[in-house]
Subunit: 187 residues, 4 copies
């Protein structure tokens, strides 16, 4: 069973991008994948900002990324790019930490004017980490996402596009598992 | 007298990019500018990562940026981009916090392969903050920079290129001061 | 009197971005600048595509860029970036052809989703050409621009923002002329 | 049998990036794929620059891209980005012309300082065309590539990295063929 780790890089809580990542994680868990998650803002802040990778909580988060077969990476767009919080965590990873992994980027933003930040800002960083396949991600407008105690409500068209993207991601993770022979039996 | 604020975004100490920023700040101070500096890794980490701009230290740093006529922004390149530490601070600034300001970007990296990160990753973020003029910055290879207790030693050709860039920046800050009528008398 | 050259990179005619460049050129001429223009689609196509810079028409266009004190560069956004037509001309220029020049980028697009292409795609290319100052440019939605025989009609808010941007550009060109001592007397 | 189309975007001939694309095409043909190629500089120049997609030669090139299961896209880096020649052809394609296709980007440059142009400049354009999977491409230094009448000679380490990249690309094309059920019998 492939392990998928969802990384949420929002500095705020509740967070639209975090809720979106959880929503996708639930969907993937229902499809039989093993899921784990990292919320960067909950990591020890001083250790994160000064790069102390020996801290046990941070070391565990890095090890989780290394064990993962695939990653969901969620961030809001601030100042035309991903958040500093997300990047602070990515900065702690080994240079080619994403080697052999499939990555699904999920991005939220207040205006459609930010949409290219996914491909011009976030994707090059993910590529530099050696990702084997970064599938086409999704940009979701803040107003198409409502977060409440009962979970996430998405506009119908976003829900539909998201389903297609998660299908594509899940298929890519499964093909990778087959190709690399790491397919384990589901319990 | 124009106020120039140097922002250092390295997570480590001592830091090559931080030493470079200090070196440029000393040069600018000698030219008669008022200088102040912000080392992001020294700000309260938990408050920074969770966006608590009401924290007095963070609020003071933001206010310093707003008062500045010009900024020196220094970062190493990690994972094909600026650091998360730097971006975490920029994320806390008002949307157009750099309006009317002149900005000098200074970037260090372990290999010349990272040089385009200045213009493809950092500059678009600085533009999004509304900077009036982002002068041509400098990328310095780690090996051309030696940091010791006696300060920074730069390779001769880097020193020369840096001098030209600081000249250009200082000239732009002075022209801006004249143009906007904010030129104050030097003490 | 400073020479400003407007370069239009649209493959089609009539062209919204070309009309926008002409509109800005007229404004600048009225302010006392000397203006010239290059419409890339009108250059000899075979020579352009195969880099024959010895062709007299192409050589004249390159010489015009080199003589310019400042440039207006206009392109629509296609496929998340500037046009191939524009880039084909920029490819023929000497490596640092924009050294010492002030540049105003003008971009048009069918959707606001393309707006970051100005800063993530076009600006890095202009920086690589050595531009001394690339002022904040303008992205204009196709629907805010009507081109007819009587010229260009712009939405009122675009007209207003454009005026501010042209003011900033003109000021920068004049300051540059003063600073470099190339200010010539206007006839 | 999957059809792979190699697109070469160099304005010059002989061309290092073009020779690299041919080299990879030969390798892929030997693996049993059907290969075709488009050299943009050989298309009718005037029609290309003015977007006349009704021209029979250009229409045939566009149709070839649409029929392709996968693409090899080769360009030198000029002025911190792909060539205008390449982009002029991409500009003529339908908005999502790469939907469902696997893409291998190959880039050559005179200095390692250009390497990030692959991921910051070219990849976002390929993503905007809807590519299903853009595999990790290769940046090759001009001096690691010798083009002569007997073909292409590559430095040994480049040859080795290229082989790994072509393996990955071929594997992705085959998995795509299986997944989408378009696997046709080899003759």
């Amino acid at each position: 069973m492939s392990l998928i780790v969802a990384i949420s890089g929002s500095p705020s809580t509740p967070s639209r991008s975090g809720a979106l990542a959880n929503h996708v994680a639930d969907d993937l868990r229902n499809r039989g994948f093993e899921l784990a998650s990292i919320t960067v803002r909950d990591l020890p802040a001083g250790e994160l900002l000064t790069g102390r990778t020996s801290d046990p909580t941070i070391a565990a988060a890095i090890a989780l990324v290394e064990r993962a077969d695939a990653l969901v990476i969620a961030t809001p767009i601030y100042k035309a790019s991903y958040t500093g919080v997300l990047k602070a965590f990515l900065d702690l990873l080994p240079q080619l930490a994403f080697t052999g992994k499939v990555v699904l980027p999920l991005v939220t933003g207040g205006t459609i004017a930010h949409v290219l930040a996914l491909d011009y800002a976030l994707r090059p960083v993910l590529v530099s980490l050696g990702a084997q396949h970064i599938v086409n991600g999704l940009f979701v407008l803040d107003k198409a996402l409502a977060v409440s105690e009962r979970g996430l409500a998405l506009d119908a068209d976003v829900e539909k596009r998201l389903a297609g993207i998660v299908d594509d991601f899940a298929g890519s993770v499964l093909r990778r598992a087959t190709a690399t022979g790491v397919l384990r039996t589901t319990p």
